[in-house]
Structure formats: structure tokens, C-alpha cells
């Protein structure tokens, strides 16, 4: 019996998508003083005093501020460090 040979046609396609980004969001709280929050931001995020003050004001006035955006593992680490300063830090997937 004839054995027909069928050569399968294989197509490959590479799909490269950037890794999803995560936001570290700090929520306002009634306990920590503004100056304390600035010191915490400078220490954890390694940013200037001026930038820390800008973020602190945003937290205070808007109730929340995204203080860092990037890959998940680093975001988790920063959120934990902010929690260790007793700030209300949460992780959110970047929209």
C-alpha cells in the first residue's frame, strides 16, 4: 500500500511582549507625620528630598500616590520596605 508522505507545514511565530509593570502605591494614613514620610521615601526609594516631598504631598492631598513603577520583584521588595516603615504601601498592576 502506498504510504503517502505528507510534509507538515510548520510555521513559527515569535511573540515578544514586555513584562507587565507593577505600581507601588502609598496610601494616606492619619498616624505618620509628613516629615517622617519624607525621611522614609528618601531612605527606601533613594530619591531626593524635593521629590520625596512632592510624593508626600500627593499622598496627603490625593489620599494616594504611585511612588514607583517597574518589574514585579522589585516592586514587591519596595512595598515591603515601605511597610517596614509602617507606611500603607500596596502593589497594583499597571493598567
Amino acid at each position: 500500500m502506498a504510504n503517502p508522505k505528507i510534509k507538515p507545514e510548520i510555521k513559527t511565530e515569535s511573540v515578544v511582549a514586555p513584562a507587565p509593570k507593577w505600581n507601588v502605591v502609598v496610601l494616606n494614613d492619619p498616624i505618620n507625620f509628613t516629615g517622617y514620610v519624607v525621611v522614609a521615601f528618601v531612605s527606601v526609594l533613594r530619591i531626593s528630598n524635593g521629590e520625596a516631598k512632592r510624593l508626600m504631598r500627593q499622598v496627603h492631598e490625593d489620599g494616594r500616590a504611585t511612588v514607583w513603577t517597574g518589574e514585579r520583584e522589585r516592586a514587591e521588595l519596595l512595598a515591603l520596605e515601605l511597610q517596614q516603615w509602617h507606611l500603607s504601601a500596596v502593589l497594583e498592576a499597571d493598567a
Binding site: D29, P30, I31, N32, F33, T34, G35, Y36, V38, V39, V42, S43, N49, K53, R57, E76, A79, L80, Q83, Q84, W85, H86, S88, A89, V90, L91
Partner: protein, 154 residues
């Protein structure tokens, strides 16, 4: 950086030390409960819980030792460097968080933000006492922040 100093009256030291003995054991639970621990990864959640619990125990030890060693009148707490000062700042924040959750849970955020202006006349004695301590811990924090970074406050 030169050493940083926090001073208080001997009476304040005694009162704050007594309150710390009561509140410190609960601080770890409060710290973990308040943290927005990611719930979609068990390994990460366990790491966060362990880290925050261990830190709370360390903070309780730090405060107990610092207040116990603050002799004289005024009683002075000496912090040798920035790392020690930051650890002390965080420990004071933990105590204030614990007081907020365990003693002042019924006080709205907006009122607690201006705790010094709260009308405490109607409060039970223990709560009024705790509020005075909460304010004192805050004053110690502010003094430390001003020594660490005079420009931190607006």
C-alpha cells in the same frame, strides 16, 4: 553624623515605659494585619509575614532597651548613628499604629490626624492617658526627624 538625642522628663519616661510594656506585645500582630500582604503568592506572603513579625519583635526590644537605659532627669535616649535613628523612628511609628488600632479605633482618621486638638475630657481615664502617650511618642518622632533631616517638614 553626630549622635542624636531625645530627652524627656523622668516622669514622662516612666509613663511611656509602662505603656510600652502593655502595647509592645500586640504591635507585631497590628503590623502584620495592617500590611497589604499580597495574597496571590503564598511564598511571598509568608516572607512578608515573617519579615514584619521579626521586625516588630526587634522594635519592641529596641524601645524597651532605649527607655530602660534613659536614666536621670531629663532622661536622655542617645542614638549613635543614622541607622539607629531610623530604626527608632520606625519603632515609634509601630507603637503609634498599635495604639491607633487597639485603643483609638473609634476615632475618625481626620480627628486623629490632629490628635493634640482632640477634646479628651469625655474619654475614659485610660484612653486619655493613652492619647497623651500617643502624642508624646509623636513629639519624640518629630524631634528625631528634625535632627535627621531639618528640611523634611514643610
Amino acid at each position: 553624623m553626630p549622635e542624636l538625642r531625645l530627652s524627656m522628663t523622668a516622669e514622662a519616661r516612666t509613663v511611656l515605659t509602662d505603656l510600652l510594656r502593655l502595647i509592645a506585645p500586640a504591635a507585631a500582630r497590628v503590623s502584620v494585619n495592617r500590611a497589604g500582604i499580597p495574597d496571590n503568592d503564598a511564598e511571598v506572603a509568608a516572607f512578608w509575614t515573617d519579615t514584619l513579625t521579626a521586625q516588630a519583635a526587634e522594635e519592641a526590644r529596641l524601645l524597651a532597651t532605649a527607655f530602660a537605659n534613659a536614666k536621670g532627669d531629663p532622661a536622655v535616649i542617645l542614638l549613635r548613628n543614622e541607622a539607629q535613628a531610623c530604626a527608632f523612628l520606625r519603632a515609634l511609628s509601630a507603637v503609634r499604629m498599635a495604639l491607633r488600632d487597639l485603643v483609638f479605633a473609634d476615632i475618625p482618621d481626620a480627628e486623629l490626624e490632629a490628635a493634640a486638638e482632640l477634646d479628651d475630657e469625655q474619654m475614659p481615664t485610660e484612653k486619655r492617658h493613652a492619647l497623651a502617650c500617643y502624642t508624646c511618642f509623636g513629639l519624640l518622632q518629630q524631634s528625631l526627624v528634625l535632627q535627621l533631616d531639618p528640611e523634611a517638614f514643610d
